[in-house]
Amino acid sequence: MLEYRFEKSGNPAVLRFSGELSIDKIVDLRNILLDSLNQTENILIDLEKAGPVDMAFLQLLCSAHRMALKSGKSLSVSSYPGPFMEAIKEAGLGSFTCKDAQWRSKCLWPDTLALPGENL
Amino acid sequence: MGKTVLIVDDSATMRQVVSFALKDAGFEVISAVDGKDAIAKLGVAKSDLIITDLNMPNLNGIELIKQVRQTPGHKFTPIIMLTTESQESRKAEGRQAGVSGWIVKPFTPEQLLGVVKKFIR
């Protein structure tokens, strides 16, 4: 059972998920995200009440973020509660993998790893 | 929350061995005596991992794997097959059907757990 709530009236519009977010519901999750994104210019994803997330969900978020950037919209995550942060670290994700310095500030992922100055 | 494993084998010995090893490691275990029984069990109980023999009456292992992949909620459930042969052809057949891993008989409980832990915790 997928539980979510989309509050599109606010700015940003807020999409709240709860429960486990994983590959088993990934097609539904994609549809919800895509629908919501289509209805607003500025969306905030709230995972405070979300349970465990898996890699399929993480890459879906990344893809949604890319979609938003591509269409000149904004998509962000309100916070990184425990299970979410855990999954991010476990997957080896972090802003350090993102495109370049300017992009890094827009990157969806938190700073999970301090990189040294580039020593060439 | 404990994870549940479904062991499918027509041999009572194998069911016993697998279930003993897994319960010892803290998993819930349910058993099915053949493929048909397994499909029925999947309908009523949650299963996070399926371990199945290949040679069984009433729906063999490969057919079971294919059917599980079509069963709602089990498209991505890990499935381990028990096999007596280590031939590549057998593995390829399993992989084609959607199997996640395999273990070759005979095996020890430790070896079984080593494989199981590649798929669930």
Binding site: A56, C62 | T13, V17, S100
Partner: protein, 714 residues
Amino acid sequence: MKGPEDRHKEIFREEANELLSELEGSLLELEENPEDGELVEKIFRAMHTIKGSGAMFGFNEIVSFTHELETAFDHVRNKKMPVTKELIEITLSARDILREMLENSAEGVGDNERAAQETLSRLKRILPGPLKTEAENSRLKDEKEKENEKIFRSSGDPVTYRIRFRPGRDIFKNGINPSFLINELMTLGDCLVIAQIDSIPAMDEFDPEACYFYWDFVLTTGQGVNAIKDVFIFVEEGSELKIEAVDEGDPGKPADYKRIGEILVEKGDISAEALKEALSKHKNLGQILVEEGAVPHGRIASALVEQQYIREKRKSLKEAEAAASIRVPSRKLDILADLTGELVTLQARLSRFSIAENNPELAAIAEGVERLTEELRETIMGVRLVPIENVFSKLKRIVRDLSGELGKEIALEITGAETELDKSLIEKLGDPLVHIVRNSIDHGIEPPDEREARGKPRRGTIHLSAAHSGANVLIQIGDDGKGLDAEAIKAKAIEKGLIQHGTELSGNGLYQLIFASGLSTAKEVTKVSGRGVGMDVVRKNIDALRGTVEVESWKGEGTCINIRVPLTLAIIEGLLVRINEEHFVIPLSMVEECVELIRGANEGQNGKHIANVRGDIVPYIDLRELFGIGGPPPEIGQIVITEADGKKVGFLVDQVIGENQTVIKALGGTFKQIDWISGATILGDGSVALILAVPQIIKWMENRETERAAFRAE
């Protein structure tokens, strides 16, 4: 009390008995309806189950017996064999044997082997193909064991690996969650995970059930590369898995690690050309590469992480090493070695004295002192030993930089880097090795296009190796370049007056001329190898270490330089010889054999001494003459035949006393001028013996010959 194992066994027996009862009925039924496929399936499955479950509890007899029956029914079910009365009969008696086997296994008695063998040979006669032989069965068993072993493993020294894992897109659909694999990898040791996300498309092109992530890992583990492969055993098909060892965890390595560009090229993330171009812009490399889209940022992050990780690893390793050891000025070690040398000498005197005294108590003391001295000496020498890797790693850098500069592609292969030799030797070997390697790069290895035209791989190879060989260390520097040009060397040598026109020198003898001073055959003087200084300097340095250097070369195929140096400078194994009252030591590493010389038989002509050793003509030097020692020579002298730089030369002495371990003392003052002597040693009785510098003496002799020949020619 019964453990779970026993309970399992019991259940197996019950189950097998049940199956055997059913089997009887099925077989009888099959006799009536031989075409009933379902019955055949059922019988096959019964066999299969008994075999599979039996194997779990070591019912080996039952397993191998059932295996043959299973094979037979496999044939039947594949329509390769008909159901006959005989088959039914054999299977029924097999069933009875199985039942007995089961009962016997419970009681631990009985022998069913004969009956089983009989039944099997009957079965064999009616099978279409040959039954699997014992050997094959055991092979199958081995394979199975290996298969499961793949998943379970052993350990060794920690090594740092760089791993890239790019799963197949459909990995989720096979029920595989990569996070468990990552978790398992992390249990192997220290591990860093870097997800690569450049393949994830925007949502309009995104398949939510496909896996777009791929990963780079830096892992330090002592469990070996197979343990890493085992993590990915179920996904190897359809996935990309690259595992490279990047750091062996040697505390001797500098804490510095490769540069980012280097790492990226190694990983194949960018080409060497792209790197060169980016570097030429003198900006932050990562920024340039990303701006140009040459490489996704994640890849650079991954290289950075690897760099940082290994630096930290090396630093902590160094700290751990530092905590476990202390630094001592090498001067102190030298003094210790010197003192030990004196002790060895004194101990030899003690031993001689105790033998002469014939006092058992004194003999026991002398023996004890001898043992301890020997141990002390070995320990001191051991402390001074360092791996040659220190020199080799310097060469890595030279190969890398110089080949780039000269536009050549060169791979450096190193073997035996762990070979240890005396610290002072290591220091003195550096320059000669650098010279030789530079020469190989500059003159040996051809430019890539030229190599290709000659049918060689574009990339040349320089091979460095070190190995112990007796009391020596053999260092070889080989390349697969164009080899030495014999004609050019000859022409140059004649021009420089090193050899006479018309002198016949065979290939190897000729090649040794490259070590002569002033001989450089490179047509153009390059800034790399300079103008003909180099190889003669190499020779001088190696001579000073009491070593030898030789060159071998094959035109068009390459050159190999062999350097032999003694393990340690402080002690040599020598042959002690006597002329009148004077003692000399000849380094044992150069001694080939000793022969007798009857005076008057082969006395030299023109001051040139020639001995006939089993048909070989060997020139020899009369040491009495060379050092101007008086006294009458004995009737029968002895010639010590030595070999240095590929040439045999003898030394005539009065008597060969025997082998001894010689602690070398440096010579001071006036002796320093004499280059025939490489050092001195103090004998047990307190007298001094000089150590002959064999290569120098030979060279001196050759020069004299050449001068004389020239003189005569005029």
